[in-house]
Symmetry: C2
Subunit: 453 residues, 2 copies
């Protein structure tokens, strides 16, 4: 598609300048003193969406920062794409580690250096300029809606209510999001799955006060000892989580997916070396890349109790605590798992302690069917641009908004992320390779040139 390449080449400076104009607005959602910058950034986006060929640009209020909306409704007969991105960024601290100021973008060594260069101003711009390119060339055969939120870095508190309120307006057939990564510059990949999460705090109470471990030790159950015993029972000798019925709904990995996982570059020795561990540990019968993305996990995220200061103070404490989480996979219901865990702990807790389990948080896993038509089009677009079919790989993390879209809007998302590990998002010296910025635009434009036909 040389016309796509040509259009991008002719407009590349403008694309970059428009991105820079967004980056220069320090739209840090975590800091209340940037409230004005949030609105300024939303307004600037509305201008860019309009100049990129979208109609009806609007800065829509929420209980938090506004959502920017625009659309291009070409025909009611066409399928509709909903594009999601976010215009807020992480704080720049620690400021002193930046080689150039976080909000003064500059190009050095073939990279854009700035907060938001990747996450998510750069990647949102890829979506918008990909649409502009295809639209200007008359290649678009679908309707497009764009929403850009301003609270992603603080947990998107207003997004679910926004979706609930504007269900009709946001109706679409598929969602495109560029806010994730790919394996390497020359190994295109699409994130096809995200893990869900259930998270609890456990409080174990032994005696009603801290006791002298000399006067009571050996006669009264110690809540830390007992918490350790309980936690030691959560994973069996095969690395499987012991909560009853836990695996009942787990969707097994398909043969096609296992093939792609096997094709992903992975060197176990290097992986271990990078973590400085002698051996890995996980569920028997699964590859490391399956264990950390397609299979559930159980991690104690925090534990505390008794004396934790310097030296050797003896105590038989009254209480011990842990924060524990499971990462869940497709088809597991976090609400059911959350209750099952509470019941399980209560069932196995011995009578000499009291145990209180408080569910703190949860979210569904997400799985993008790799045989869905829009996904196939995305594959073709990557193949055309990168010369390689992208690997469809799940990631072990969670992006709650993707599950929210599916739950509220009932729409599947394709995570066309162009980020690299080296982009240092959320860190000092965030950056994005210039060539990948344009290649991303080309991929998205190619997607539009093929979708809806």
């Amino acid at each position: 598609m040389s016309q796509i390449k040509d259009y991008i080449a002719q407009n590349e400076d403008r694309f970059m300048q428009e991105l820079f104009s967004l980056i220069r607005i320090p739209s840090i959602s975590a800091k209340s003193e940037h409230k004005g910058d949030m609105v300024a950034c939303a307004n600037r986006w509305a201008e860019i969406l309009t100049s990129s060929g979208l109609d009806n640009a609007e800065v829509m209020p929420t209980d938090g920062n506004p959502v920017v909306y625009a659309d291009k409704i070409i025909s009611p007969d066409y399928p509709t794409v909903l594009v999601y991105g976010h215009y807020d960024v992480m704080p720049e601290e620690p400021v002193e580690l930046w080689k150039s100021p976080a909000f003064e973008p500059e190009i050095r060594d073939g990279h854009i250096w700035a907060r938001g260069a990747d996450d998510d101003k750069g990647q949102s711009m890829i979506q918008v300029k990909g649409f502009e390119t295809a639209n200007k060339l008359g290649l678009v055969k679908c309707n497009v809606k764009v929403i850009l939120e301003g609270e992603e870095e603080v947990g998107s508190p207003s997004l679910a209510p926004f979706c609930e309120k504007h269900k009709e307006k946001l109706k679409a057939d598929v969602i495109l999001v560029s806010d994730t990564g790919m394996l390497a510059k020359d190994i295109p990949s699409i994130t096809t799955g995200l893990r869900g999460l259930a998270y609890w705090e456990i409080e174990v109470t032994g005696p009603n006060r801290d006791l002298h471990s000399g006067h009571y030790g050996g006669a009264v159950a110690n809540p830390i000892n007992e918490l350790c015993v309980l936690m030691s029972k959560m994973i069996d000798e095969n690395g499987r989580i012991t909560i009853p019925e836990f695996y009942d709904d787990v969707l097994e990995i398909s043969a096609a997916e296992r093939e792609m996982i096997a094709a992903a570059p992975f060197n176990e020795e290097e992986y271990k070396k990078a973590l400085d561990v002698k051996a890995l540990k996980g569920e028997a019968g699964f590859h490391t890349l399956e264990r950390n993305s397609c299979r559930p996990s159980f991690d104690i995220c925090g534990i505390w109790g008794g004396y934790t200061g310097e030296g050797a103070k003896t105590v038989l404490p009254s209480k011990a605590y842990a924060k524990v989480s499971t990462r869940l996979v497709a088809n597991q219901d976090y609400r059911k798992i959350s209750q099952d865990f509470v019941k399980y702990i209560e069932a196995i807790a011995p009578e000499y302690i009291k145990v209180k389990v408080t569910p703190l948080h949860g979210g569904e896993a997400y799985l993008c069917p790799i045989d869905m038509p829009a996904y196939k089009v995305a594959e073709e677009a990557y193949l055309a641009t990168f010369g390689k079919k992208p690997l469809g790989l799940r990631t072990g993390g969670s992006i709650p908004i993707i599950a929210t879209f599916e739950r509220i809007l009932g729409i599947k998302t394709i995570l066309m992320g162009f980020g690299l590990e080296s982009d240092a998002i959320h860190s000092p010296n965030e950056n994005f390779p210039v060539d990948l910025f344009y290649k991303g635009i080309e991929t998205v434009a190619t997607f539009y040139s093929k979708f809806g036909r």
Copy 2:
């Protein structure tokens, strides 16, 4: 022995005033601003020891607070008693909870109210005035040496070097200490054993940095999970500690001791109610009062790792820590146990984590043979004063100085303590019953009237 009772009755006001004069000096060893008070208190003791009939009173320097020494050498043919006490006290905080000022002793409701009323000015005075009484009545048929240290409440750092340096001067046949308690006012008891201690810090390292639990969870061993598994293996289903060879040297409880333990007042229901636990837990085959004093115990005194703040932060941490202790009993060598534990943990630690075990502290258990002649004399003295033979019971705590005396000086100690649980030592409103103060003096005087004959 009505002459003993008479002498005490004739001198009771003076005894009390002498005690008050000591109490009024705030000899708080934990606070450096009281250095002058430490010396003042030591000097006041030297005066009292002299006026109580002892010779050679001396305030002897150490690297810390001085030790007060005095003796009464009657005949080289007589056996020698060494009396130990301490003149330092705990801080008075929280000051606002005292009903009368901590260092202004007063008698109310039949109790002396003041810091040090029991621990250990009151109880040391019992020893000294018991000796004075017997000595004035010409009943003493042994030599007596007294040492009073000024650092007991801060761990007696100077006492072991002092004993090493003055081994010859401190030569004796038995040590008497009044610094412990008895079961109840009408149930006299002598503490016949103390538990020893071994204490370690454990550091478990998983990956070389904190990891995203989404990206790595399920594939990499979590050090908190693994620490819990290790700790869960320390006690078996019979409540026995699993360290190899751990019980090899444990001295079993004698039939005579078990009989006395069975005679001690103990209501399991009330014990559980006071601690608000539904059930007790301990080594199978032993009574609660045996478990908490005559048998070893294993307690995790502290544990920490990962995220312990508010809310639901996910992390697969790099490290997890625990502070663990075992209470040891007679004949267990804490140095051997200390090494055995390190070896054991290293042996059972799986290859996917690194474990570092650091011994922090240790001390030997102590056991007073209840068939030793001086102990028999003490029993007779209690019987004469209280009308009941005292129960000889071990306590589960540790008093390192007692083991130090045995190790350095090679002398057994009889713990003739007259404290009650209600004396609130180390707490606001420390107190001591007036009648027990005089009964204690009578018991010690009676001991001297019978010892050495």
